[in-house]
Symmetry: C2
Subunit: 242 residues, 2 copies
């Protein structure tokens, strides 16, 4: 199967959780909006889908994945679809519900990480909501990050003593997403995450193990990995790193 | 199967999406935290789960559902689990992915509806973030509600001309959730929703059809339906209904 991923071409964003799964599995895929227009790519290809009033099952927003005739939206839903096909999900129903549950919990934190720099409206620039962002930031770094990471560290620790994977005895998409979450939080809040590192030894080690996997390591140094930047979800603004 | 739903006993909140599915299906279920302590219910029963450090698959937060030995968290995940069992989801994989995708999109709007009155931190009272809420509200009512409802109205219209269900030819959990979304937005933003009503005739009619289903109609007038209030997700603050 040749997968087509549709996502904003200039950011990691929510698309990155899908890219990591496709890359780890060595899947045959095209990151459509990153192709040149003349090859049928670019924003034009992405917008064609979003503006298609005749689509029977239209996605609300990127990312979405084309797999044969299926067009699937919502990043956690895409991962749930890809997981079994890429060998990145448990085989039993209970295991699949559990990885999906964890993925949705990661997605909840991702929303909060975005809203730290956009507490008023996504349609406004960061500069236009800076006072509110500065007020929100200490709640996020002081309460929310620890609350979520405590939970994830506990889940990891209770599975094989934390030396393995988030779920079961094999890598799943939720390990890859956990890597991305830690990487993103470290990029956005380097000082805060440095002070927290000793409290989450399991997650820090998991991040390292995922980064060292051959396909992920090759991906991270390739042109396909977009660098973190201040257009994405995880943004580094020094004044918010409290 | 006797299901046990665990959710905050004083609000509709995210638990309501689950309650509606269980009620429509006439399922055998217990709303555990609403039972008296002496019957094994109350906040004590709920907290026992959240504070259990030995649970192998602990939920991060309510709602969660106990079904036999399974404990399932994240409301969209719970609905995905219940859907086929309660006859509230399509039978084919493509249809199930699609109802789940729509459910996750509803959940995204629910987060935004909450953050209108809590743009800075969930841990603070509304009164402590009123200026920020007043600044966020017009973006939500002016841009976000229409963007989402346009999308949902379009999805409904393209399925059987909008006179039936959101997906396919039978009721699914996403129709029930759409009812709850419209009900919640109307409660929180009555003036704004009144001006918008004529633009979403399909969704307004769907809301009415769901409310009139015998099991839902009986539920809505029962003691089991908690009234909307200013502790939940959808809150009516006149100054935010712009």
């Amino acid at each position: 199967m040749r997968y087509e991923l549709y996502y904003w071409p200039g950011i990691q964003g929510r698309g990155e959780f899908i890219r990591l799964a496709l890359e780890e599995a060595g899947a045959h895929y095209v990151d459509v909006a990153r192709l040149p227009d003349r090859e049928g790519g670019g924003m034009r290809a992405l917008n064609r889908f979003l503006e298609d009033d005749s689509a029977k099952r239209p996605p609300f927003a990127p990312p979405f994945l084309k797999a044969g005739k299926l067009v699937i939206g919502q990043s956690s839903n895409i991962l749930q679809f890809l997981g079994p096909r890429l060998g990145l999900a448990p085989k039993d129903e209970a295991g699949r519900l559990w990885v999906h549950q964890l993925q949705l919990t990661i997605a909840d934190l991702v929303v909060e990480a975005h809203d730290v720099h956009h507490p008023i409206a996504s349609a406004l620039y960061y500069d236009d909501q800076k006072p509110e962002a500065r007020r929100r930031a200490p709640h996020f770094t002081g309460e929310r990050i620890p609350k979520f990471l405590d939970y994830f560290e506990g889940v990891l620790a209770r599975n094989a003593g934390g030396k393995g994977f988030m779920v079961g005895r094999a890598l799943s998409y939720v390990d890859l997403s956990m890597f991305q979450l830690i990487a993103g939080l470290r990029y956005a809040f380097p000082k805060r995450m440095a002070t927290l590192a000793s409290e989450y030894p399991g997650l820090v080690a998991l991040h390292g193990r995922v980064a060292a996997r051959p396909n992920i390591a090759a991906y991270l140094v390739s042109d396909r990995r977009i660098a973190f930047n201040e257009h994405g979800i995880f943004r580094h603004y020094r004044e918010l790193d409290i």
